[in-house]
C-alpha cells in the first residue's frame, strides 16, 4: 500500500468574513453531506461581532442588555453546543471541522484534545508557548485564554469547533463573562506585539489539521 493511502481526502473552504447565521446554515448542509458519506470539510471564517450562548448557557454571563448590545452592533444567538457564552468578532479565526468522528476515535474528549493540539501547534509556529489546563477546555497562555472550543455532534459528525484570537479586539470580551468563568482573554497580536498575518495562519492551521487528523486537504469553492 502506498504511503499516501493513509492520508484521506478532505476539503477546506475559506469563507472570509461571514455572518454567524450564514455560516451556521452552511455548517448544517455540510453536516448532512458528511453524514451521507462526503469527505471531511474544514470551514475557516471570521464573524462580525456576535455573542453565542450554549444551550445551557446562563444569560447573566452577558453583562449588557440586548438593546445596549444592538447599539454596539453585537448580535446574540443561542445555539446547540456545549459551553457558556462566547464572543466572535473580526480578527478571530473561527474553524468549523465537519468530520465524521467514527474515523477519528469516536470519542468527544479525544476529538477536543486534537483541536486543542492544533491550536497549540499553530501558536508554537509563532514562538508562543500555549498549553491545556486540566478540567478547562480551551488553550491557554499562562493564565490567559487564547483559543476556545465548543463542539456539536450529530450521527458522530462534528460541527461548531475552534476559535483562536488572532487580531481580535479584546475590549469586546468585557461584554461577557467568557465561558461563565472570570477568564482573561489574550490574542496572538497582544502576545507578539504586532498584528499577525491571517492568511499565513490559515495555511498553517490547515497543515496542522492535516497532520493531527491524517487528512490531505484541497481547497473547494463549492461543496
Amino acid at each position: 500500500m502506498q504511503h499516501t493511502a493513509t492520508q484521506h481526502r478532505a476539503h477546506y473552504r475559506d469563507l472570509g468574513l461571514i455572518s454567524y447565521q450564514e455560516a451556521w446554515d452552511l455548517q448544517k448542509t455540510t453536516v448532512d453531506a458528511v453524514i451521507a458519506g462526503a469527505a471531511p470539510v474544514l470551514l475557516l471564517c471570521e464573524h462580525p461581532a456576535v455573542l453565542t450562548l450554549g444551550r445551557l448557557g446562563a444569560e447573566e454571563h452577558i453583562l449588557f442588555s440586548r438593546p445596549e448590545l444592538a447599539q454596539k452592533g453585537v448580535e446574540v444567538v443561542r445555539i446547540d453546543r456545549g459551553g457558556e457564552v462566547t464572543l466572535h468578532s473580526p480578527g478571530q479565526l473561527v474553524i468549523y471541522p465537519i468530520f465524521n468522528l467514527n474515523y477519528f476515535g469516536k470519542d468527544l474528549r479525544i476529538y477536543m484534545q486534537k483541536l486543542e493540539q492544533v491550536a497549540i501547534d499553530l501558536l508554537h509556529d509563532f514562538g508562543i508557548v500555549a498549553k491545556r489546563i486540566d478540567g478547562r477546555t480551551g488553550v491557554w497562555v499562562g493564565q490567559d485564554k487564547i483559543a476556545s472550543i465548543g463542539v456539536g455532534v450529530r450521527k458522530w459528525v462534528s460541527y461548531h469547533g475552534l476559535a483562536i484570537n488572532i487580531n481580535t479586539d479584546l475590549q469586546l470580551f468585557s461584554l461577557i463573562r467568557p465561558c461563565g468563568l472570570d477568564v482573561q482573554m489574550t490574542s496572538m497580536a497582544r502576545l507578539l506585539n504586532r498584528p499577525a498575518e491571517l492568511d499565513l495562519i490559515k495555511t498553517k492551521i490547515i497543515e496542522h489539521f492535516s497532520r493531527e487528523f491524517h487528512l490531505n486537504f484541497t481547497s473547494e469553492e463549492k461543496i
Binding site: L56, D80, G82, M112, G150, V151
Partner: protein, 78 residues
C-alpha cells in the same frame, strides 16, 4: 419496548446533562431521528432513535444529569 441509553461518549466521560428534548411523550419517531441533545464538557451530542415507534416515556428532564448507560427514554417500537 426499546430503551434509549446515554451512549459511550469518550474515555473518562461518565455522565452528561440532558440539554434539550427534540420530542415529547406520544411523538412518532423514525429510526435515526435525533431525539435528545446531551451536553458534556464543551460538547453537545445528539442521540438518535434506534428504531421507529412512539416515544412512550421520557425519564430524564432537561437540565438533569444522566450517567453513561442510563435510560433516557423508552420507545414503543413499531
Amino acid at each position: 419496548m426499546t430503551k434509549i441509553l446515554v451512549p459511550e461518549l469518550g474515555e473518562g466521560i461518565v455522565k452528561a446533562t440532558v440539554a434539550f428534548w427534540h420530542v415529547k411523550a406520544g411523538d412518532q419517531v423514525r429510526e435515526d431521528d435525533d431525539i435528545v441533545e446531551l451536553v458534556t464538557d464543551k460538547a453537545t451530542f445528539n442521540v438518535p432513535a434506534n428504531c421507529p415507534g412512539v416515544i412512550k416515556d421520557i425519564l430524564v428532564k432537561e437540565g438533569q444529569e444522566a450517567r453513561i448507560g442510563e435510560i433516557l427514554a423508552i420507545i414503543d417500537a413499531k
